[in-house]
Structures are given as C-alpha cells and as structure tokens.
Symmetry: C2
Subunit: 338 residues, 2 copies
C-alpha cells in the first residue's frame, strides 16, 4: 500500500528546478521566483498532489503551526465555548489547535505544557482555573517559563500568571453586582455553593458576592463547598437543604453547578424561585432555555477564547498584556420577579 508521500524533491525534479526554487515557490519566502518557473512548480505540485511535511517544516524553521489549548473538561460548556473561540481564531490564522484535557487534575496542566513544548507549539492557551496548590503552581510556572524561553507565547484565561498574556473576567465585580441585584429583589438571607476553596476563580466570585451583600447591608451568606461540576452543585444543594438554613436565595459560583443544584432542589420538592431563588455565573448557552431560565452573570465565553487566541498569536508585542472582560448581570426566572 502506502504510496510514499510526495516530497518537495520529487516536485522539484519533475518540474526541472532545484529544491530551493520549489521551496520558495510553494512555501513562501522573501525571494522572488520568475513567473515561468513558478507556474511550472505550482502545476506539478498540483498534479502530484504534493502536501508539505509539516514536521519537516517545523524542524527546519524551528517553529510549528500548532497552538495548544488546555482545558479541564471539554464537555463542560464553559470550556467548550472558550475552545470554540480559540479554534476559530487559530484556524483563521492557518494554525492547528491541539487539545489537552486535564480532567481537573492540576498536575496535568504542567505535563501538557511539557508535551506542547516538545511539539514546539508556537502558543498555548491555558483555560483551566488556577488553584492554590503550591507544588502544582510551581511546576506550572516552571513549565511556562521553559515554554516562553523557547519562544512560545502563553495566555491564560481567568488566571493571572506573571509573564503571560491574560484574559481576566470580572469575577469579583460580577459576583458583587449579582449580589446587589439579588438584594434589590428583596432577598435577605443568602447561601453560596462555593465550589472548591482552592480554586481562585471560585474564591473571587465568592469574595465579590460577599462584598456585594455587605454593600447592601446584608449578613454574610452560608457557604457550602463542593466540586466545580454539575454533581458538585447537586451535592452542595442537598447539603444546603440538610443544613436547614433560612436562606431564600442561593448563588452557585458556576452555571454548571447551578444546574446540578436546581436538579437537587427539584427532587426535594423545593420550588424555584418560589421557595428558593437561584443564580449562577457564566451564562452558558444551554441554561438560557431551561425552566426556570437561570439568572446569572454573563461572560462572553467564545469571545474570551478569541481574545486569548488573539493575544497569543499576535507576535508583535513582547510584553505580557491583560485584557479584562466584564460580566453582566442577567436576571431571569430563576430569581423570580421576571
């Protein structure tokens, strides 16, 4: 089988030109090639079905056309939206995105970065959330350094790391605005499903929310931890109900968690929003269509992916930049009065 792949050398020979000329014609260069030869090369390349060997190009140029994308779980709409943004931009730039998933294990992030470095990826977007796990962070920082020293760029979504481009959503501000909006709806007693305490994103949203409550002169919420997933929200909501707090409104730091929480409430016969109002964060598309529609803080997820990819592919500037994107409170049926 395996018809040997057509090489540049074959094209060159067939077209009766040198390797150098063929390369210049087919893969761009500053040098000019006469129209005559150029045509001939183009034609034979076409005829032979020549496709350049990307590995060889990468080796010779010492830079590949790969862009890395690291997420925790591609199944999570938060990440898949960001992924959509990143891939769109990358593909427009003629690059190819390699997808790495961590399964929420922080140490995988560094491993993946190392792999990406081996592949000489020219850039990486890190969409996973930052943890406070010291060892993992140190290892990650070292990998990031190694990666950038090798000439690659790194952008983080929602986790400011020194020396990298960053897209920072207004987690704190969003949480705060949401708290105020909910307070205005008349709620007095709040609970928060706070996710894992070591996740910075979760902490920021929680901190913002608390600040917002304080602004409104409302007592601090009951906070219940849990995993950053639908099931985490489900469990946390059950725990909340078991705790018999008098909260009338619960804030899940993530839409996905809110989804699980709503399922738990429903199972327990707690009506939303009559018995318990609920709000999330992110505004993932699927939850706009649910009943009741979820109140949340909207983040332009796809756009954030696009921005991150844009930052990381913009070879012009060299210093790290930070782009802030604001969250927008969106009140829907899940908090009533709407």
């Amino acid at each position: 089988m395996s018809a040997r792949q057509v090489t540049l050398a074959e094209v060159a020979k067939q077209a009766g030109v040198s390797l150098a000329t063929a390369s210049r014609v087919l893969n761009g260069s500053t040098r000019q090639v006469s129209g005559d030869l150029s045509d001939r090369v183009l034609r034979t390349a076409e005829e032979l079905g020549y496709v350049p060997n990307a590995s060889a190009q990468a080796l010779a140029r010492n830079s590949s056309s790969l862009v890395g994308l690291v997420v925790h779980d591609i199944t999570d709409p938060y990440f898949s939206c960001i992924a959509a943004g990143v891939t769109r931009v990358a593909e427009e730039a003629g690059l190819v995105v390699v997808l790495g998933t961590t399964g929420r294990r922080p140490e995988r992030e560094a491993e993946l970065l190392s792999t990406l470095r081996a592949h000489r990826a020219r850039a990486v977007v890190l969409a996973g959330s930052r943890t406070t796990d010291r060892a993992a962070q140190a290892r990650l920082a070292a990998e990031i350094d190694a990666f950038t020293e090798q000439g690659g760029r790194v952008a983080c979504v929602s986790q400011a790391k020194l020396g990298t481009d960053t897209v920072v959503p207004g987690n704190r501000a969003g949480g705060r605005a949401l708290a105020r909006a909910l307070a205005e709806l008349g709620h007095k007693r709040f609970a928060v499903l706070g996710g894992p305490p070591e996740l910075v994103v979760a902490r920021d949203r929680l901190a913002g929310f608390k600040a917002g409550l304080a602004d409104a002169g409302i007592a601090p919420p009951v906070v219940i931890g849990g995993a950053f997933t639908r099931d985490g929200g489900y469990e946390a909501a059950l725990e909340l109900l078991a705790a018999k707090t008098r909260a009338t409104c619960v804030f899940a730091v993530t839409d996905v968690m809110a989804m699980g929480a709503m399922a738990a409430l429903r199972e327990r016969g707690v009506r939303v929003p009559e018995d318990m109002a609920i709000a999330g964060f992110d505004d993932i598309p699927t939850l706009r269509d649910t009943v009741p529609a979820l109140s949340t803080v909207r983040l332009p997820l796809e756009e954030m992916g696009e921005i991150a990819a844009g930052l990381v592919l913009d070879t012009g500037r060299d210093e790290a930049r930070t782009v802030r994107v604001a969250g927008e409170v969106v009140l829907r049926a899940s908090t009533g009065q709407n």
Copy 2:
C-alpha cells in the same frame, strides 16, 4: 531570551556517550544499553531539562504522535462528549489530539484532513455527519484515501465510509423503537423536526421513526426540516405551530434541536407535555436536568468517542471494522405519563 532548546546531542556530549546511545536510552528502542550508561544519560537529561523535539522525531520516524479529531462544532454537547472520549483514549496512549472544527461546512472536512495529512497525524476520527453533497463527499473520499495510503487510519463516527473504521449508532433502530414507545403512550398524531434533509444521520433517524409508526399502524408524521442546531429546532417548532397540525407529539431528531423546540413551545404557551409531548435523540447530559426532562434515545456518546479512538489506534488489524452501538429509549417527563 530564548535559551536555545536542549538537544539530544548536548545531553549525549554532557553524558559522554554517543548520540545513538542517548537516543536509545531516552526514546526507547529494541536495543539494550548498559545500566551504567543508561543511568548517566537519564541523569543528565533530567539535569538539563531535555525534552525531545517531537517534529524531529516525527520526521525521523516518519510518523507523529498526533491524532486528529474533526467535529462540526465543539460547543455542541454531542460533539464535545465524543471529543472527551477521544481525548481520553488518545492521552492514555501518550498521543496528542488535534481538534478541527468545520462550522458545519462539509468542504472543511476535506481541508482539515489535508492539514492533518501534512502533519502526518497517525490517525483521524471524523465525527461530523455525512451529507449527501456529492462533490464534498468525493473530495472527502479522495482525502481519506490519500490519508490512509500514507499510512494513517481513519475512523468515522456515525457515517459509514468504505474503507474506514466506523462507529455506527443505531439511528434507524433507535428512531423506530422510540416511535413505538411513543405510540404505546397513546399518541396518534406525530410531527418530526427532521433537520437538514441532506444529513444522513437525520434521514436515518427519521426513516426509523416512520417505520416505527408504521409498525404501530399510525399515519406518517408531518415532517419539518431545519438546521441541525438549537436554533434550527426553535424555528422548526415555530413553523410546526404555524402549520396548525393536530400532532400531539413531536420528535426532534436531535436533543439539541429538541431544546430549541421546547423553548419555542414555551414561548408560544404550549405546555409540554400536556399540550404537546416532545422527544429527542442522543441524550446529551444537560437535558437530563431540565424541566421537563427530555425523553430521548440514549447514545453512549463518550463511549462512542472512546471506541472510535480505540479502533483507529489499534495498529494490529488492517481491515476496516464497524462497531454498532445501540440506542436506548429513555422516557422522561417531556412525553408525560412518567
């Protein structure tokens, strides 16, 4: 900046061995190396922070560690679930997955395959649905041939292509079983939101559904086309309502479409399931938690991704294999009586 990357040659020199020996130690080979030298190489590699250059390896070995994955839209839960399965298997095998998105343009599939070929990807999973567009199919078939001739393997999810491994969900059988189950619930008049007529997946599900209705001695359904997306389902549902059929139960050929349809029904004040029952296909995770929960045909999406990746990475067998996975009817609240 850019501290030059550590090369094998540097490691070898530092460790006082030849390039060949260093390569054998670090990157596996059939050949043995004495424990003494081996240790020395391993140690210096560690010290220097050596990471093999994947492009160079790919070039020298004429085979890379890339696995392609082509989907229409990574944001669609159907695809993101499959993607999760594929990446899991690939990462376990020490491979890296390259994600390509077509944006539902059939011609992109061939383009991406060509790119993947340039990168010498060792395998590709095509998760996009097959269309009946002749030109696109021909181009795609040619690219698949080129890819396999070059030594790569191709697997398709849910679209049987000659000469490739395939994971085939029971679209027809699932549609049929669903129709029968719905008939048993007492429905007599059905509508189908059939998606784009040129998509084979959509056609199969529809055909199966019709067959199931026929089995139950029920008149053929009203069929309304539309896009294979949430918005497509939304529009199609509006059209259905405008058509003033007397259908009491509507089958959306995709859960995602069903989601849009439910939103449309809700907006128009049509209660589900009291006024109109609805069922989907795929069983995407998010819709298990909605109100009402969606009746559907469950497909093991992640598993399908895993199977596809498994097929394509199993270098043992050479002929194309087909794995069928059955859909399982799951009746939930959206069809009432439950």
